[in-house]
């Protein structure tokens, strides 16, 4: 009788392999996928916050995967975020703390998620599914001192700035504020129509045109932070240069004169 070598057949036992495969497949893939799916729904939906005042979802400020050229969203792309150890420009040391900071500051829910909460697990599963991405901390420099931004010094330069500003408005502002002047598609009626409603909240004579330009600049740079309030995210100097903010103001007609 032709015998197999003594040790080999047991390792390839069909029944054992089937048993192992069944158990492993039953335990991991479908459940993980359901959490990933739920997490992806949380990423684009409002359910990460229990507040009825919340107008945001994660995708408003973050891309899932980095684009080239980089998008103009206020927050960094999230692929690789599960591998990072520093967030918010180094001000937060753990990912869940970073998520909770977003929920509290932008999404009006100050009850922190714990790692055991279902939404936290689902969100983490989704974020982990985006790996590897970029594991390095995303540079996030807040411009603290608000200085007057110069305009172009020729009619052609001003016209070019206005054109660039229109494009930037579509990339940075429109998701929340809707279309310029009429607010079509804005996140909610709580979000001001630009520039009219924000100018109306800062009327002359208390606010001169020069100061109104500073108000817009400060709001873009600081968002809700550094004593301003509201729920707008800040745009770091890595996302928008001073020249780009000046272009935006040109498109908005907030020219300081």
């Amino acid at each position: 009788m032709n015998r197999m070598p003594r040790h080999t057949p047991r390792y390839f036992s069909p029944s054992a392999a089937l048993l192992g495969l069944c158990l492993l497949s039953a335990c991991s893939a479908p459940v993980a996928q359901s959490e990933v799916d739920e997490g992806s729904r949380l990423f684009v939906g409002k359910a990460l916050s229990q507040s009825r005042l919340n107008d945001y979802n994660c995708a408003v400020c973050h891309d899932a995967v980095a684009s080239n050229p980089p998008s103009k969203k206020a927050g960094g792309a999230l692929a690789g975020v599960t591998l990072r150890t520093s967030f918010w420009g180094g001000q937060v040391a753990d990912l869940l703390g970073s998520v909770n900071a977003c929920r509290e500051n932008f999404m009006a829910d100050n009850r922190p998620l714990s790692p055991k909460d279902e939404p936290a697990r689902a969100l983490y599963a989704y974020l982990a599914s985006l790996e590897p991405g970029n594991s390095e901390p995303i540079p996030f420099t807040i411009v603290t001192t608000i200085d007057p931004l110069p305009r172009g010094d020729t009619p052609e330069a001003i016209a070019d700035a206005e054109r660039r500003g229109q494009d930037l408005y579509a990339q940075t502002c429109m998701t929340c504020h809707g279309t310029m002047h009429d607010g079509l598609g804005r996140l909610s009626t709580r979000v001001p129509i630009l520039p009219e409603e924000t100018l109306a909240e800062h009327p002359p004579p208390q606010y001169t045109p020069r100061v109104q330009r500073l108000v817009f600049t400060e709001k873009i740079r600081h968002g809700l932070f550094l004593g301003y309030g509201g729920v707008m995210p800040p745009f770091s100097s890595e996302v928008l240069s001073d020249a780009e903010v000046s272009d935006l103001l040109e498109a908005l007609g907030v020219i300081g004169q």
Binding site: L23, E35, L96, E118, I142, V211, G227, Y228
Partner: protein, 396 residues
């Protein structure tokens, strides 16, 4: 022949174990693989003396190995991911594996473009001692600056140096002392802040050894207040120095030598009191140079023995030693900018080594330095971050 071979049995056991481990993710959240796995740096004593320093202008806490005089790490703290939270002081509750950190928000002046904004409240956060992650928090009044913890009673005291109140009518100048009877309850967000309107611009404070009384430097009233921490009543108020105006700022209770050390900014003196309910002024010490001119103003001092007092001095930066029994100035040294900018607090560890926190200029990193107790010469230095003032030590 058995139904399953030995190997199949083994594989079944392994697979069943794996399946059991996985099953938690479907039915039992407690057993599931952890979302958001722990990636924070951790700080274990491992028999070492650890120093905890809050860096006010960089929103971090630095942890040092004081035996080796090395920096173990600095971690971001606070609750605002953009604004400066201004962590002023951290104290340790090692019995509950917690630390308490006061967030003062020194720059949180509302934008000039916002009308009707109010002062921002401060917070005391309970941090998990091993990784300094947030366990819970307690909202207190604006301009909380200092805190003290009593291991004996579990009580925490918080002072609020709200200088804007000093501009109010006399009856409104006094700020609150917050007393928390069970500080560990901050970790579960269940703590109660009990307020006692105490004095104008209270600053540094400290419990006595059994936690029954808290001593407070009342900067705006030139006095030291003694508070019964259980009944939350003022036991006494005494002048902070022999020759007002004193402007007391720093304050240290030394239970070993039964002394209270109060450092006065305007009079540039350190007042040494006993620890009676109404403290008695025993001696006053002012550092002078060879020409008799007053040197810098004193900060958080320490008694090196029954008789020797070490005082850190600012503007000009240096330190001095005094014999508190005779009043003699034993030694006076000046520090270069490379050695120590703005000496703020001396700490003596159980191995008789002396450390000094150097604030720096608030815009560049400060330091913790080791100082020879006899010569006050700097013998080792560890950079920390922006604007440290005080250090709390965890002895092994």
């Amino acid at each position: 022949m058995s139904l399953l071979s030995r190997f199949e049995k083994l594989l079944f056991v392994v697979a069943a174990t794996i399946a059991a481990g996985c099953s938690g993710s479907t039915s039992n959240a407690d057993d599931s693989p952890l979302a958001f796995p722990h990636r924070r740096p951790t700080f274990e004593s491992e028999g070492r003396r650890l120093g905890y320093v809050a860096n006010r202008n960089s929103d971090t806490v630095s942890v040092l190995d004081l035996d080796a005089m090395t920096l173990l790490g600095s971690v971001p703290v606070g609750r605002d991911p953009v604004d400066i939270d201004g962590p002023r002081h951290i104290v340790l509750d090692s019995a509950n594996a917690l630390a308490y950190l006061v967030l003062s928000y020194p720059f949180s002046i509302p934008s000039v473009h916002v009308q009707g904004a109010t002062k921002r409240p401060s917070y005391v956060q309970a941090l998990n001692l091993f990784d300094l992650s947030i366990a819970g928090e307690l909202r207190v009044d604006p301009w909380a600056v200092e805190l003290a913890f009593s291991p004996a009673t579990g009580r925490l005291a918080v002072s609020h140096a709200d200088e804007s109140r000093f501009l109010q009518p006399a009856e409104e100048r006094r700020a609150n002392l917050v007393l928390v009877d069970s500080a560990s309850a901050i970790a579960t967000n269940d703590a109660q802040a009990n307020r006692l309107t105490l004095c104008a611009v209270p600053n540094a404070l400290a419990f006595d050894s059994d936690g029954s009384r808290v001593f407070v430097a009342c900067t705006g009233e030139d006095s030291v207040a003694v508070v019964d921490s259980a009944s939350r009543t003022v036991l006494s108020r005494v002048p902070a120095g022999a020759t007002p105006p004193s402007q007391p700022y720093a304050l240290v209770v030394d239970p070993i030598h039964d002394r209270l050390l109060v450092s006065n900014k305007v009079s540039r003196s350190v007042s040494v009191f006993d620890l009676e309910d109404t403290p008695n002024l025993l001696s006053t010490h002012r550092a002078v140079d060879e020409q008799g001119a007053f040197l810098g103003y004193p900060m958080f001092s320490v008694l090196l023995s029954d008789s020797v007092l070490a005082i850190p001095l600012q503007k000009p930066d240096g330190a001095s030693l005094f014999d508190v029994t005779t009043g003699e100035q034993l030694l006076e040294v000046q520090y270069s900018d490379a050695e120590c900018v703005h000496p703020a607090e001396f700490s003596l560890t159980s191995d008789s080594r002396l450390r000094l926190v150097c604030e720096g200029d608030q815009y560049h990193p400060g330091q913790v330095v080791e100082v020879d107790p006899n010569t006050l010469a700097v013998i080792a230095s560890v950079p920390v971050e922006l604007y440290p003032e005080r250090m709390t030590i965890l002895e092994p």
